[in-house]
Symmetry: C2
Subunit: 270 residues, 2 copies
DNA sequence: TAGATTGTTAATCGATTAACAATC
DNA sequence: TAGATTGTTAATCGATTAACAATC
C-alpha cells in the first residue's frame, strides 16, 4: 500500500511489510529488557521466544532491515535496539495530542509507556468547560479552541482521539486540517481521512467480540437457539418475513438455553 | 489455526477466516446504527462504506456465514444483525472480570461499549489494599484473593488484564487456573498460556510506534543520523565494536538533526 | 422483462514456515 | 576444524480483489 519514495532514492528498507513493522515494537521491547539485564548478544531462537513469535519469522523480519546478525553468534543486543529504534522512527521525539480527557484520556495521559519510546504528550484537549483547566498527569487540560495553535506551534503530527464516538470524526477533521497526519482512534467510530493520513484504531468492544466468537466455539457449539442446527441451509423467506422471524427469535431467546459447562443468559446487544 | 469440532458435526460456519471474524464486529456496529435509524435493507456497497471496507470483501465475508442477502435487493438489516450477533456469540451474556483497577481499569469499567453487546462486568479486582473497597462504575473493587471464587461462581470465561506489566503473567496464570479461557491483555507483556486459551492484546505503545514508522516515511526519509545514507550495506564489525559504535551514535544524536518540515529532537527510548 | 445486486470464482497479492546453504 | 546460527529460498497458506454469472 504505502509507496512513498518521497525523499531520495529508495533503499531496501522501503519495502518492509506491514506485518513486519507491526512486530518490530515487540522485538524492541524484548531487546530493551535484555539490554537492561546487560545481555550482550541473543540468538534468533531466544529473542523469538521472548517476543512470542517463531524464530523463522523473526529472522525473516530482520532480513528486511539488513544483515545485523552474526552467523554462529546471534545478534548484538545494543546494536539491534538502535537499528530497530531508528527504523521505527524512535530516535526522534514525537509530540502527541490527546483529545477527549474522560476516563480513557486520563488513563492514557498517565500511561508510562507513552513517555518512553520518544512519545511526548504535547497537550491534553477537551471541549467540556468543566474539564478544561483540570490537571491530568501533571498537564493542564486545555480547550479545543487551542487545538490548531498547539498542533502548529509544537509540530504535532500524531493525534490520539479518546472522545465519545459522536465527536470523533469532527475532532479528526480538525486534527487533520491543522496538520496531524497520524491518528490513533479509541472511539468506536470509522474515521474518514484524506490520503496520506494514517489511522489506527484500538477498540475494546471489537476485541471482546472476537474473544467471544472463539469462546463460543470452544464451548462446544451447542444450539444457542431453537432451530440453529442446519441453519446454513435455511429457507429464503423474503426480507420482512425474515426480520419478523428474527425479532421473534430475539424475543424468545431470553434465558432459555443452558450450555454444557455454563449457564449464561441469552442477551442481544442493544 | 483454530480447528475445534468439539460439539457435533462441523458445519460450513466452522471455517470462518480470522480476518473475517475480526470484521464481523465492524459490520455489526454499522448494522446496529442502521437498525436504530429503522433502515430496513442495505446493499453491500452501502454497508461496506459504513464499515470502512470494500464491498467485495464484505460480500465474501458474509458468504462464510451463509446466503443472507437477496439478489437485486440487498440485506435485511434486522436479520443480519441477528445472524452476526449469533455467529459472534453475542446472543449470550459474557461475564468478564477486570484485574488491575488503575487508571485504565477504571476507564474500562466505565466504558459504555462494554455493557452493550452482551458483556457484563462480573467483578473488578486489585491487589492493592488501598484500592480494594473503592467503587468504580458502581461496582466495588474486590481483592485478588477473591479471584478464584468469583470466576468459578459466576462462570467467568473472559478476563481483562490491566495490571502493571510485572504482574500480568502471574495474574494470567491465576485466571487460567481458575477457568478463564479468553484473555484481553492491556499490559505490555507477552503472556504465555496453555493451548486452548486465547489471548488478544491491546498495546498503545505498539500502535504509536507503528504510526511513528509511517510518519517517518512520510516526512521524507531525510537522514536521522550522521551516516545513514547507505546503511543497509554497512560493514560488518564484530559485535562489541558495533555496540560501542551504536552507543556513540546514541550519545551523538541528541538534538542534532532538523527535518524538512519539523524540528524534533532525537531521543532514544529508555 | 430490465435493472440491481448478490454470491462465487479465479487471479493476485502478501505472510508464514521449514529447510538449508552460507559463514561466523 | 567443528559447531552454531544466520540469512535466504521456495513452498504453502491465507487474504484480498475484480469480475461476472446467477437470480431476485
Amino acid at each position: 500500500m504505502r509507496r512513498t519514495p518521497v525523499g531520495r532514492q529508495t533503499r531496501a528498507a522501503r519495502g518492509i511489510p506491514e506485518a513486519t513493522v507491526a512486530r518490530l515494537p515487540l522485538y524492541l521491547r524484548a531487546l530493551t529488557a535484555l539490554s537492561e539485564r546487560s545481555v550482550p548478544t541473543v540468538s534468533s531462537e531466544e529473542l523469538a521466544a521472548a517476543a512470542g513469535v517463531n524464530s523463522a519469522k523473526l529472522r525473516k523480519d530482520f532480513s528486511y532491515l539488513g544483515s545485523y546478525g552474526t552467523r554462529g553468534v546471534g545478534y548484538d543486543v545494543e546494536y539491534l535496539v538502535y537499528q530497530i529504534s531508528r527504523e521505527l522512527g524512535l530516535t526522534q521525539d514525537w509530540p502527541v495530542v490527546i483529545v477527549g480527557i474522560g476516563n480513557l484520556g486520563h488513563a492514557l495521559a498517565n500511561y508510562g509507556g507513552f513517555a518512553s519510546r520518544g512519545f511526548r504528550v504535547a497537550a491534553l484537549l477537551d471541549a467540556d468547560p468543566a474539564v478544561v483547566g483540570a490537571t491530568a498527569a501533571g498537564l493542564p487540560v486545555r480547550h479545543m479552541d487551542e487545538l490548531e495553535s498547539i498542533v502548529e506551534s509544537q509540530q504535532v503530527s500524531i493525534g490520539v482521539i479518546t472522545t465519545p464516538p459522536g465527536a470523533a470524526q469532527q475532532v479528526c477533521d480538525r486534527l487533520v486540517e491543522a496538520g496531524v497526519t497520524s491518528i490513533l482512534n479509541f472511539a468506536p467510530t470509522v474515521l474518514t481521512v484524506p490520503d496520506g493520513v494514517d489511522v489506527r484504531k484500538v477498540d475494546l468492544s471489537i476485541e471482546l467480540q472476537i474473544l467471544a466468537f472463539h469462546e463460543q466455539r470452544k464451548a462446544g457449539e451447542e444450539p444457542e437457539d431453537e432451530e440453529p442446527a442446519e441453519e446454513p441451509v435455511r429457507e429464503r423467506a423474503p426480507g420482512p418475513v425474515r426480520a419478523a422471524a428474527a425479532k421473534l427469535r430475539r424475543a424468545a431467546s431470553g434465558g432459555k438455553e443452558t450450555k454444557g459447562e455454563t449457564d449464561r443468559q441469552a442477551v442481544l446487544p442493544a
